[in-house]
Symmetry: D2
Subunit: 377 residues, 4 copies
Amino acid sequence: MAKLKWGMIGGGQGSQIGPAHRLGALADGLFEMTAGALDVDPERGRAFAMSLGVAEDRAYANWQEMLEGERKRDDRVDLVTVATPNNTHFEITKAFLEAGFHVLCEKPMTMTVEEGEEIVRTARASGKVCAVNYCYSAYPMVRQMKAMVAAGEIGRVRSIVANFSHGHHAAGDDAENPRVRWRYDPAQAGISGQMADCGIHALHLATFITGDEIEKLSADFASTVEGRQLEDDAMVNFRMSGGTVGRLWSSSIALGRQHGLDIQIFGETGGFRWASEQPNQVYYHKLGGRVEIMEKGEAGLGEDAQRLSRVAIAHPEGFPLAVANIYVDLAARIAGKDEGNLPTAEDGLRSMASVYAAVASARDGSAWVDARPPMFR
Amino acid sequence: MAKLKWGMIGGGQGSQIGPAHRLGALADGLFEMTAGALDVDPERGRAFAMSLGVAEDRAYANWQEMLEGERKRDDRVDLVTVATPNNTHFEITKAFLEAGFHVLCEKPMTMTVEEGEEIVRTARASGKVCAVNYCYSAYPMVRQMKAMVAAGEIGRVRSIVANFSHGHHAAGDDAENPRVRWRYDPAQAGISGQMADCGIHALHLATFITGDEIEKLSADFASTVEGRQLEDDAMVNFRMSGGTVGRLWSSSIALGRQHGLDIQIFGETGGFRWASEQPNQVYYHKLGGRVEIMEKGEAGLGEDAQRLSRVAIAHPEGFPLAVANIYVDLAARIAGKDEGNLPTAEDGLRSMASVYAAVASARDGSAWVDARPPMFR
Amino acid sequence: MAKLKWGMIGGGQGSQIGPAHRLGALADGLFEMTAGALDVDPERGRAFAMSLGVAEDRAYANWQEMLEGERKRDDRVDLVTVATPNNTHFEITKAFLEAGFHVLCEKPMTMTVEEGEEIVRTARASGKVCAVNYCYSAYPMVRQMKAMVAAGEIGRVRSIVANFSHGHHAAGDDAENPRVRWRYDPAQAGISGQMADCGIHALHLATFITGDEIEKLSADFASTVEGRQLEDDAMVNFRMSGGTVGRLWSSSIALGRQHGLDIQIFGETGGFRWASEQPNQVYYHKLGGRVEIMEKGEAGLGEDAQRLSRVAIAHPEGFPLAVANIYVDLAARIAGKDEGNLPTAEDGLRSMASVYAAVASARDGSAWVDARPPMFR
Amino acid sequence: MAKLKWGMIGGGQGSQIGPAHRLGALADGLFEMTAGALDVDPERGRAFAMSLGVAEDRAYANWQEMLEGERKRDDRVDLVTVATPNNTHFEITKAFLEAGFHVLCEKPMTMTVEEGEEIVRTARASGKVCAVNYCYSAYPMVRQMKAMVAAGEIGRVRSIVANFSHGHHAAGDDAENPRVRWRYDPAQAGISGQMADCGIHALHLATFITGDEIEKLSADFASTVEGRQLEDDAMVNFRMSGGTVGRLWSSSIALGRQHGLDIQIFGETGGFRWASEQPNQVYYHKLGGRVEIMEKGEAGLGEDAQRLSRVAIAHPEGFPLAVANIYVDLAARIAGKDEGNLPTAEDGLRSMASVYAAVASARDGSAWVDARPPMFR
């Protein structure tokens, strides 16, 4: 089986997400790194790409050169990953889709809802795969919860309670810390700070696990650190198309939480609790029984949970392999197989529409607003 | 040291809270059970009181008889605990205060804000102690968090995130289950279900630990089980007098949670996490350091945490001893000592005003409303 | 129901175990504190007793006076608790049994096996209750494990693995710290340090839960802190009468463990894990199923677990109430009821014989030795 | 940077350890899979190798063919991984070393101590790297503990307590279950069951973290399931060259434990606790402080812990990446860099000598025996 050819844009040296993509693409031997435009500094980017085994003529200075270079090759890359700064996702993703490449875009897919709708239209027109790296949805035990919900094992989902909170922006030294500062600067981050950065993952998970969309919401935002223009602590209440009540708290000033993406799902006949820091277990309570610890790799899990787990029960698998699972599903989709659980441009659009709705609600005294993108209303 | 004389109203056989009060009053040898009107069935109540060592002439048929009987005795009880159904708290508490007894009232102290204000006025006029059994505030490690906040050890409190959620009303068999049904019946429970039952404790904790009051709030209520007229799942966002952002989720359909009263407090330079199911530890994160496990009984804790802990570090103390701590503080107050941390009628009023505000907000599309009782505005 | 009259010897101010006994005796209203010889300093002891409500004529200067004083009263105390230094347990317990009092003795019941056998004989001859405060056996969830083992729910018990390890003697400053120093001084502590202090509880639990006795054992002792004559870290392997393999590790230099009494029981069809720091849960794995969290207070527990739990599920109960459960069972036994689960002189003897055997084995290169007291061989 | 060429022997379809090696070798892009003899069934093995991208002429029918084929190539593989049944490790490893290949051998490296010494001699003579896949030693937080011990941060190590226990062989249906049965059959498994399979990892960790060797030990073995000829539950007490006391429990009938490799290290001034199921945290107790949660990826960790971690704090990394870390260190060693922490043939020999010593001690009434391989005495 020949490996698929893969190119990456962004994710250069020192990038936080770059290593996760390289591990994700390479781990299962499905892709080989063939091309790259890895850095805003052309020479540094080319050198780094070559150090990773990319041939000199495919170590590009920037994404435009890569688009031109790859477009005309017979052995063009099969998949392009876009891991650049957020405000460039839209144009790069759009350009590569139009040129007939499959694309995996980092979140948030776009800066606005309008751009999101444009990507959805472009992807549909292109016939190419456009995926968004909502990688938490690819943990085996998240897939397991989704499968059990779909099978009716916990009945109708009454409520879903999610958190994505950490304390890494609590120091409040934004002035001296550019890696933090830009997140709360509308000129760079857009309309939202913490929700667009972290909360958006939890919004996606809510829709992913239930299979429903977020219809309306009410939000409360706070900028708890003086001088921040965008929210660093947010609460969103929502209602989903299936009637589920949703509650999502996201904060970046929550000292004591390291990477607190947790989700609880409460159905008529069962409940789940899952935390991304310990992703291999789900605490499952079946009405009338005891809380049980469901383990990745245990006998009897659903097809997706089994397929996306690599090693035996209680041998932990972590974040890089969740990203790898996105690449596994991408390879399947590129090969024409029906991998319906891959997060797509539609998911990227829906969650961005929810972030915009949350901003609007927070500005309007927590009024309830429509959370759906216009094109899906 | 002579023991104080104690009488209880309600808390008869089969009551859930009665045993906690008896343990609480007796455990430290500060009170003896001297009188009681324990049951709505006079004979059953008298028999039960006598089985607990109450003399026959002080085993009363009902609270009115107890009021009359004790009022005229020279050796009248020092303290009366009111543990009757919620809608009787007001008149019993008021009557005993007016007759010059110290009173400990179960939560919620009253059914309405107006009644709450009346109790505050009555208590003030009487010069007697009127306490409310917000017993979670009496856990040593809750007192420790309060002391550290007061000492500025975590800086200004930016946000407080509390949960009080369980799954014990998830079965949805209200029609056959009177112990659940009444909680969602406005005729018996008043204007609120889960918030008045559980969420109210967390509202109190937020004010207790920060020392601030809740000024305004926005709420979202849901009745997730068909047929319920009152909320079984609620979210309240609030702002406190010191600027703290608050978030409180309370649910009774959260399958997998047993008694999920948790609280997280995030300050400028430190954060706390505490859970009532494991009450002897606080997870403490000091900015720049690691998360530390602070233990009840460890060296160097504050005066209150030490005073209210009975056995050595890592010898767990639980719920009944938290209630006992309320009685310890009551004994101090009755003896004229300044026990400022005892929850009082003012606290009972404030938290009920917050519940009313939450109901009003939830009915008005999550609009922000004043959460303070009129008398404190 | 009249309260039983209770007297305590030892447990004066500053004592670690004294408060637990007072809480234990008083909490449920079954006993009243009637007499006491609480301190090696007669005046301090008398004053402290009176401060606890003991009448002046029953606040004794020492145990001998208390024996004389109580022996001749018509309203003599029903139960005497012996909470004095270990090397006095034997003579006090023996004297009170011979005088016809029921006795609860702190562990270790005696300093030698011979003394233990003498206590067993004395107790049998007296017809009085002689209990030993192996209070961990009185936690509801420990009783639950015992009941499930007895009912065959986990099949034959293949192995039992226990720890009782903490780090409170790790500082190694014995010379300046008399509370630590005496434990490693044979003149005061006898033949064993950590095993006689802590490990002995775990030895008892192994016999308690399985219902079997320890037949033989092999031990390895270490004195890891320079200058200690007795062990501060011990491992004991044993075999029980029912064929169960046992492993017990006990240490006082285990930095990071606060009060690490844990026990795991592995049967043919199920396994348990319980930890005294979180005593209200048992992790239960039924062969072929998932690990389940069994909760104190949940529906369907055995009679003992229900009877000895006071408040609802997930309302934690802790160490003082485990001690209280010993007093509950004592009250039942004194009243002539069959409370077979109360730890008795036979248990005190058996566990002391095991400690002696462990010392002998450790001195003899971990050779396997008979662990039974001679009178039970 | 050209990738190193890698070949694998064993680890065919359905193998438990095969996927971990492929992930480990590929994840970081350091190796490419170039050759393989993956299965005892030649055709199945060749087809599987080709499906993984191995060229047809390097998809070998068996290891002998692979040795012949690779030996004569100019572009021969750089590294051979031996993941075949245990009783073939010796001859394959020896043959490839002698032919001048670097080898990574699965544990146990050999079936006997004599074979182990032979491998050590062969490896030394060859000048090639011979590593053993003690992959738990490559978790970042295990390296962190080692670094802190070496830096004296916890003082002299007084004791080390390790477990490697699970319940996956508790069913006792060996007759019908060949994957379990062979482990307790001396003809296939050699002299030890659970110790050679699991306990051996913990033995290695003890030496790895302390940097000392195990000098002598006393063991107790049990076959708790009827019919088993080899131990399924073992306890080993040991002494290390630096004076550290060791205790190791390993069981395969521990129902409720999934993959219970835990280690606790107790020094004069600090203690560690680490569990392989949650490998990204170490609970660290500094004498006089509180227990702290040390996190993979936090600021200030040692060089090795940082180097071997790929994603940010609290983004979990799991078992496959621990194996990948072995390959990272192999690549460094093959490139001539000094990667001293890679487990080597000497480690494989030492731990096998300890297993043999444990067997001997268990047969001899837990007598203390020398645990060192003869060549290192």
